[in-house]
Symmetry: C2
Subunit: 350 residues, 2 copies
Amino acid sequence: VLGNHRLLDVKKRKMKKNTRTETEFIESIRTMARPGHPDVIMGIGDDCAVIRGPRDQVLLITTDMLLEGVHFDLSWHPPRQLGRKAAAVNLSDVAAMGGRAVAALLSICIPDPELPWIREFLAGFVEVLQQHGADLVGGDTVRGKAGTLLSITILGEMLEKNILYRSGALHDDLVWISGPVGLAAAGLELLKAGPQAKKKFPETWQEFIEAHLDPEPQMELGRLLAESGLVHAMMDISDGLATDLAHMCAASGVGAEIAAHDLPLSKALAEAAKHAGVSAIDWQLKGGEDYQLLFAAPAKNETALRQLAAEHAGGTFFCIGRFQRGSGVFLRTPDETRTDITYQGYDHFR
Amino acid sequence: VLGNHRLLDVKKRKMKKNTRTETEFIESIRTMARPGHPDVIMGIGDDCAVIRGPRDQVLLITTDMLLEGVHFDLSWHPPRQLGRKAAAVNLSDVAAMGGRAVAALLSICIPDPELPWIREFLAGFVEVLQQHGADLVGGDTVRGKAGTLLSITILGEMLEKNILYRSGALHDDLVWISGPVGLAAAGLELLKAGPQAKKKFPETWQEFIEAHLDPEPQMELGRLLAESGLVHAMMDISDGLATDLAHMCAASGVGAEIAAHDLPLSKALAEAAKHAGVSAIDWQLKGGEDYQLLFAAPAKNETALRQLAAEHAGGTFFCIGRFQRGSGVFLRTPDETRTDITYQGYDHFR
C-alpha cells in the first residue's frame, strides 16, 4: 500500500488534515534524509530504496505500516488472508522495481495475542513469502492496547542495470497497466454490505472480494518487464490509478492523458458498480490496492509488450494512454471531454 | 531493545501471560521461518539477520517496535532524545554483531502528528544515524488513535568472517561487559519521581537520566572487538545483564557464573539506589537498556582486551565472571552464596 517514498505522509483516508504543514514536513524530511553512504544507490523517492548488494546485484528495501481500522478491518478480513495481503502489498513494491524477493521482517503490535489468530496470520504471511522465494528473517512484537498494527519490511534483489524507477517516463511513451483496476475497491464496497449481503452476490463478484482480501503481487511480471528492456518507468498501483500515475508523472517531469474507454471494464464490475450505486470509473481511477503494475514504454515497443504478456504472463497488458509534455493527469471520455484527475484517489494531501 | 531473535515474543513488562502458549508459539514461528534463500546467512536467532552483501561484506538487518507506555513515556522523554534513542537502540543490535551502520527505515504511527514534535524527533533520529554514517532511506507513517508507535529497521554491513554471533561462547571463556550497567534503570527510576524531584538530585545522578533518555550505541567498540579476533561471542545488553547473559548461554550451550563484586558500581549509583529504596545490584542485573556489549573471550586474551579498551576506546572493559559447562546463570556474592539468576530481568516469559 504505502510506498517507500511516502515517508511521513500521514494516511488519512477518513481524516482531514492541514495540507501545508504536511507538504512542508515531507520536504524537510527529504532534505534531512539525503543519502551519503556509498552503498546507498537510492534513498527516499521510489517504491523501494536501493542498496549495493552481492555480486552485481542491488538490494531493494521497502517498508509498510498497516493499521486496523485504516488499512484493514478484522471483522471481514480472515487472518490467513490478512497475513497473505501483508506480505503481498510489500512484495508488490519489490515487483514495482523489477526485483526478486529475498527476505522479510515482520513486527506486530497486538492488543491481545490470540494464538490461533496469529498462527493463521503467520501461516498466510509465510506462505506468500515462500511462494516468492523469500525468508522471514526477523521482527518484533509488542502488546499494545490500540488496534492491531503490522510493520513489514521486505528485501529484494536484482541487477542494478535492470532497475525500473518511476522517474523514467518520457513524453510520448505509452501508459500501460498490467491488468484491470478497480476490482479491490469493488470488493471493499461489497464487504461493507456485511456478511449476509455477501451470500446474495453473484458468483462473478467473488473475484472482487478476493482482490481486496488477498491481492496478488505481480512479481513475475515485474521481473519480466525489467529484464525485457522494453520499459522506461514502472511502479505498482496501490493508491489508485489516478494518484499513482500522478506520482509517476511528477517523478518523471511529464504529464499524461488516459482514455476512459481504454480501461478494461468487465460486465461483472459494471454490474457491481450499478448495484453499489457508484460509477465504475470511480473504482477504476480512485480505488487503490489492485497492485497491478503501471509502466511507461515507447510506442515502438507496443507489439513486443503484447507478445511478452501473452507468452510469459498468459495475460494481457492494457495500453490506456500516453505521456505528454507538461504536467498533470487527464482523463479523456468518449465525448472528448478532458478532465484533470491528478491525484484523484486516496490522496495523502487532501 | 528488542533483538531480532525475539520475533513475536510479546513484551509484557507490566503484563502477565500464558507462558506455555507463548513458548510454543515462538517455537512454531522459528520452524515456519527456517531460511532457504541462498543469500540469507542467518535468519531469526541473533541480534541481526545476516544477508549476503556487496564485495566480501554481509548485510545485517534488525528491527524494533517501540510503543508509548511500554518502551517510552512522552511525559519525560523529549522528542529529540527519543529520536536519538530510537536510532541508538537499533544501531546497538548492529554493534552487537560487530558491524557498521548503512541505512535505516523509520515508520511512525501517531495519534495527532504535531509538526514541531516530529521535526525534533526526526532531527534526533537522523543526527545519530549520521554520527554513525547511516542514511535514512525510507519509512511510512500512519495516523492511529492509539499512542505513538515507532518501527525502526537498521541495515549494517561487515566482513562475514568477523561476525560475532551470540552462540559462540565456550566454557571457561571469561564473561566481559564493555561498561557499567544499571545506569539506565536508575535513570528511569529517578524520572518516575517527577520533574520536581529531578531538580533536587545531585549533579552526579544526571548521568543516569541521560543513560535512560539518550543511550549511546557501542558501534566503535563492537567493530573493534569483532575485528580484534579476541572474542568468541557478543551481544548487546538491552533486557538486562541476567537475561541477556542467559540468552547467550542458551545460544552457546553453556552456563555462566558472575561475581557480584566484579560488577562496576559507582558511589553515585549506590547512593541513587539507596535514595530509591532499592538494591543497586537489582538495577545492575535486571535493569535493561544500558546497551553495553556483553562478550565472551578466552582467558588468554584478557591482557590484550584490556589494552584494546584502553588504547582505542579510552575506557575499560569489565571481566565479571566465567562461562562454564552446563546451563543457567549464577551470581556469586562475597559471602560465597551462589544464586540462580537465569533470565532475571525483563523476561519475556514471566
